[in-house]
């Protein structure tokens, strides 16, 4: 079966203040797969993720060489960055809810893209909260502050908020690092269901999580891509010794 390629990086190199952070990364990410990215701290996995929605642009010290294509479009060419970020959603490590109501947190993105109609916004809120498995818990208090939700609920709210701008791709930057096992399970359940619609890239410190949800897994070490293969292969019979060492907990 030939998969359609959604994201492709070609000879990607990144520096922060001349310190190399990513070296010669060539990756192809298939449409509607979950690509897990594992590796020890400072291996460049978050930096890689933040290249995909041009989030590294926020740092003055960021320098990049090479190319990244999404749907065959060079995203570092002179493009509409806001459109790119709408298309490539991101869920952060710690749930960041804005000090607004639950409703307004989710409506924030659509409103910025010009949707003003109350009914349409209400539909978006309901659909995305359902998709993120949060609707039943909050449907009676959409107008109360989102800061009052528990950590796990907040992260699902962030997930729903990302969905609300109708992305194609969702990037997860260690999305469950602060969550309990039950909340983590709910997020993972949602991610697996999302495979119908979205291409997902999951950066995680939790190798077991990558093993549970991702179709393919990439192992990063010190800014280099060591190995990328089907998840079973990586976890049972990796080619590179360093991958094996990391997965079996010998370092990192």
């Amino acid at each position: 079966m030939v998969e359609r390629i959604k994201i492709k990086t070609a000879d990607l190199n990144v520096w922060f203040n001349v310190i190399p952070s990513l070296k010669n990364i060539d990756i192809e990410i298939h449409e509607r797969e979950i690509l897990g990215i594992i590796g020890p701290a400072n291996s460049g996995k978050s930096t890689f993720l933040r290249c995909l929605n041009r989030f590294n642009d926020l740092y003055q010290s960021f320098k990049m060489q090479g190319k990244i294509f999404i749907d065959e479009m060079d995203i570092y060419a002179n493009i509409d960055v806001w459109g790119l970020r709408k298309k490539v959603g991101m869920v952060f490590a710690l749930p960041v809810v804005l000090p607004l109501s639950i409703f307004e947190n989710i409506a924030y993105g659509p409103r910025r893209h010009g949707i003003k109609n109350k009914n349409r916004l209400a539909d978006i809120v309901e659909n995305t909260l359902k998709a993120a498995y949060l609707w039943d818990e909050v449907k009676d208090r959409l107008d109360s502050s989102a800061m009052k939700l528990s950590g796990g609920q907040q992260q699902r709210l962030c997930l729903a908020r990302t969905l609300a701008v109708e992305p194609d791709i969702i990037l997860y930057d260690e999305p469950c690092s602060g969550l309990d096992p039950i909340s983590t399970a709910k997020i993972e359940e949602a991610m697996v269901r999302f495979k119908e619609k979205y291409t997902q890239v999951l950066v995680t410190n939790n190798t077991k999580q990558a093993a549970r949800v991702s179709d393919r897994t990439a192992f990063f070490l010190m800014g280099e891509l060591i190995e990328l293969d089907r998840t079973e292969k990586i976890f049972t019979n990796p080619i590179d010794q360093r991958t094996d060492d990391y997965i079996s907990g010998r370092f990192g």
Partner: protein, 283 residues
């Protein structure tokens, strides 16, 4: 030996405490004496009538109105400029020489003596731009004087909004300005408000910058346009306490009391807002 060290500490702490009392006591003394001596002068007529008999009788209404006009005028110029300038520093500026120079300029603006602002206002607004001695010239002069206050307090307020709010907004495809408008400014509002109030209090109380740019010794009517001179409370207090002989103690203290109440109530509001804001902040 040990015993001595604690003895020294005891003496030192008592001295430090006395020093603190010496700083705070004058506040109580000044407020007390002005309230005590000015209290009786405050009548409806005093607040709403025009000064009479060479300012020895009647009220201080034109001075109150003039000060209100000046404060409003000051804010019209200083508020947008100060807030935008703070936005530049927190959201747009890079870590370079220009930014360093801007920060240095702000620090220096804050330190320029108020009478020098008066000279500058006279030179540029009254004479060069031909506004004459007017509410417009006075407001612009005061606006430049309070600009550093608004910039620094707004900058502090913007800095206190977590970076993650901006990241979330940008990650959803919002533009930079949308992010500032909807994800930063609303959460910095109480802090900005504190700065605005402090600026109001400063503009209402300053005398030297308005001496040659707007202040009228005596005007029997209210100003009609922004090109008119106006009376102002602080200048009026100066005039009746040094320039006009035989003004009753009551009228002098009454004027001081009104000025003090205006300025201090503004500051009090600022203090309350700030402490509420600190308690309210959940992030």
């Amino acid at each position: 030996m040990r015993h001595n060290a604690y003895q020294t500490q005891k003496i030192a702490f008592v001295l430090l405490f006395i020093a603190t009392v010496l700083v705070v006591l004058p506040v109580i003394f000044i407020v007390f004496i002005i309230v005590q001596k000015g209290w009786h002068a405050i009548t409806w007529e005093f607040l709403t009538a025009i000064p009479k008999n060479g300012m020895r009788e009647g009220g201080i209404f034109p001075a109150i109105v003039g000060t209100v006009y000046l404060v409003v005028g000051t804010l019209i110029f200083a508020l947008p400029l100060g807030v935008l300038s703070a936005i530049y520093l927190t959201e747009y500026s890079k870590d370079n020489l220009l930014t360093r120079l801007i920060k240095l300029a702000i620090i220096n603006l804050a330190g320029v003596p108020s009478v020098v602002y008066g000279l500058f206002g006279l030179g540029i607004f009254v004479i060069f731009l031909k506004f004459g001695s007017s509410i417009l010239a006075g407001s612009l002069t005061l606006a430049i004087m309070v600009l550093p206050i608004i910039i620094t307090t707004t900058k502090e307020a913007l800095d206190s909004v977590p970076q993650s709010f901006r990241e979330v907004s940008l990650s959803l495809g919002a533009s930079k300005w949308q992010t500032i408008q909807y994800s930063v400014l609303p959460h910095a509002l109480p802090g900005i408000l504190t700065g605005v109030i402090l600026a109001i209090s400063r503009a209402a109380g300053e005398t030297a910058p308005i001496l040659f740019t707007v202040a009228a010794f005596y005007l029997p009517h209210l100003p009609q346009s922004i090109f008119d001179q106006a009376m102002a409370l602080p200048y009026h207090l100066y005039v009746i306490s040094t320039q006009v002989p035989n003004v009753s103690v009551e009228i002098r203290y009454g004027t001081a009391l009104v000025l003090l109440v205006m300025v201090l109530s503004a500051n009090f509001v600022a203090i309350v807002i700030r402490s509420k804001f600190r308690k309210m902040k959940k992030w």
